[in-house]
């Protein structure tokens, strides 16, 4: 590599040469703050023995839990988890469409008040923790998967709305123009040009969001919002490690399967 000789003033040169030192100092301060701020009191003596029993439970999972016809077994609850994710994603994808058009920047607009406010609202929704939403909905509809569906539906709007609105901003407006020039009204432009042009992208993003929803649906049960999370947290608290093992196995397989399925579908869409 070559070193280029700069003809900039000496002070600037000095700054260029040494500003990495400043960066190192900043990073060092941040890390000192981070390390000294935490006190790792959590470490307990039983850690090693617990880990051993976990590993033991993982290699000898409780196969009897896979299916026992009670409706509370692994297969049923995995299906329930998928149902929560599916329903939540579908509902959210529908609600996200108007949000997306709200937040998408149009060309002519001044100051972008409309789209700006839409983007802020979507950010707020996205940042609001999903499990808090789940707990709030549990107050409204009681514990169970219904609360999980509601939590996924609302929380996903934040991300789907953002992805959809970016798709709208970047879409090819040609077909809209064509229908306008053919004398179509705004409903006709939307239904015959905008929607068919943007639909494949919307579906692709929805599938992607479904992959994420499957993961969150599998933990919402930890706060009582249905799905596989409930028996999972229960098994952890009662130290039933073979049970934890089989549930983990179930979740891993479910996620792998859904991810690859959704990836296949998304590939075919484009």
């Amino acid at each position: 590599m070559q070193t280029t000789i700069s003809k900039k003033p000496a002070t600037l040169n000095l700054w260029r040469r040494w500003n990495w030192l400043l960066w190192i100092a900043v990073v060092a301060v941040i890390y000192t703050w981070a390390i000294t701020g935490l006190h790792f009191t959590g470490l307990q003596e039983s850690a090693a023995s617990v880990s051993r029993s976990i590993v033991h439970g993982l290699v000898q999972p409780d196969w009897s839990y896979v299916y026992n016809g009670s409706g509370e077994d692994l297969v049923s609850l995995i299906l329930q988890t998928l149902a929560i994710a599916f329903l939540g994603t579908i509902i959210s994808s529908l609600i996200s469409v108007p949000f997306a058009f709200w937040a998408a920047r149009g060309g002519k607009e001044w100051l972008h008040i409309r789209s700006g406010s839409g983007k802020v609202v979507l950010t707020l929704i996205r940042t609001f923790p999903e499990i808090v939403l789940a707990i709030m909905f549990i107050k409204a509809v009681g514990p169970g998967s219904y609360a999980g569906v509601l939590a996924v539906s609302i929380h996903s709007i934040g991300m789907l709305g953002k992805l959809f609105s970016e798709a709208i901003e970047n879409m090819d407006r040609g077909a809209d123009e064509a229908i306008t020039s053919a004398g179509g009204n705004s409903a006709q432009i939307f239904m015959l040009a905008t929607l068919p042009t943007i639909m494949p992208e919307f579906i692709s993003y929805t599938l992607y969001r479904f992959e994420i929803a499957v993961r969150s649906a599998s933990i919402l049960g930890m706060v009582g919002a249905g799905g596989i999370g409930t028996p999972m947290i229960f098994a952890i608290q009662t130290r039933n490690w073979p049970r934890v093992g089989i549930i983990l196995l179930g979740i891993v397989l479910m996620v792998l399967l859904i991810d690859s399925l959704s990836e296949q579908l998304r590939k075919r869409l484009i």
Partner: protein
């Protein structure tokens, strides 16, 4: 004058594909609403309780703010440490998973399989397990975030590595440099900025994640979130959520700025 409209292929004439997909989705919708017990009426009949909760949340108890400052810091500290540890472990794995550096298909396949498996695990689930191992406290949180970011970062990293320009690398290879020298002089300079950028991106995500880990006892602000919710102290809950929002947005802002400067 009439013109014969050509006949459509069978699949199109009966709209097999759209009808098929609609049917599949309808069946799945019906099945999942039955399975999850979705009941629109119930939501509205309990709307009173829900609005009561919202009303109480809409009156934040600002005097609670000083109490949660320390756990908020702790949350950020957990995120920083967790992301750093995860990213550090991710580097060797990313190198081994990159198809342009490692030509051994088996090794690459096994590494990628491990990474894929790690990525399937949701953060809260990891937190629950590590709380059981390490006990309640921020250790469990840091380990959770480390593993969570390890899975994410290593994938982002090896995808970056796979896009590098192979020229300098082949030049060094041709003069017989060893692997580590090659990585240090030909690979690292090309990817450093993107690595840092992805590191910051992961940090953003981890700050978001770390705010709820405490709900299961893994330290940080989430502990207080859980406490306020359990005590039905919703005016405290809303302070926590608002403070978290501010922290997340500030971190996002800083990180976005740095990433723009870097790339």
């Amino acid at each position: 004058m009439t013109t014969q409209i050509p006949r459509r292929p069978w699949l199109q004439r009966w709209h097999v594909k759209p009808i098929g997909w609609t049917l599949i989705i309808l069946i799945l919708l019906v099945a999942s609403s039955r399975m999850t017990g979705v009941d629109v009426g119930m939501f509205f009949s309990n709307l009173g309780q829900f609005t009561d909760l919202l009303v109480r949340m809409s009156r934040p108890a600002w005097d609670y703010l000083p109490i949660i400052l320390h756990p908020l810091y702790e949350t950020i500290q957990m995120a920083i440490l967790g992301t750093t540890i995860g990213a550090a472990f991710a580097v060797p794995f990313a190198v081994l998973a990159a198809s342009n550096l490692v030509h051994n298909r088996w090794l690459r396949g096994i590494i990628r399989l491990i990474l894929d498996l790690v990525r399937t695990l949701p953060d809260l689930l990891l937190a629950a397990i590590f709380v059981a191992i390490f006990g309640i406290g921020s250790t469990a949180g840091v380990v959770t975030l480390a593993i969570f970011s390890f899975g994410m970062v290593s994938k982002l990293f090896y995808e970056v590595i796979e896009t590098i320009d192979m020229g300098p690398l082949e030049a060094l290879e041709s003069v017989g440099a060893n692997k580590l020298t090659i990585i240090w002089y030909a690979v690292l300079p090309q990817i450093m900025n993107q690595f840092v950028s992805y590191f910051l991106y992961t940090l953003e995500i981890n700050v978001r994640a770390s705010t709820v880990l405490g709900y299961l006892g893994a330290g940080g602000i989430g502990v207080f979130l859980q406490r306020s919710l359990n005590e039905f102290n919703y005016s405290q809950t809303s302070v926590i959520i608002l403070a978290t929002l501010v922290v997340v947005m500030v971190i996002d802002g800083i990180s976005n700025h740095l990433r723009r400067v870097l790339l």
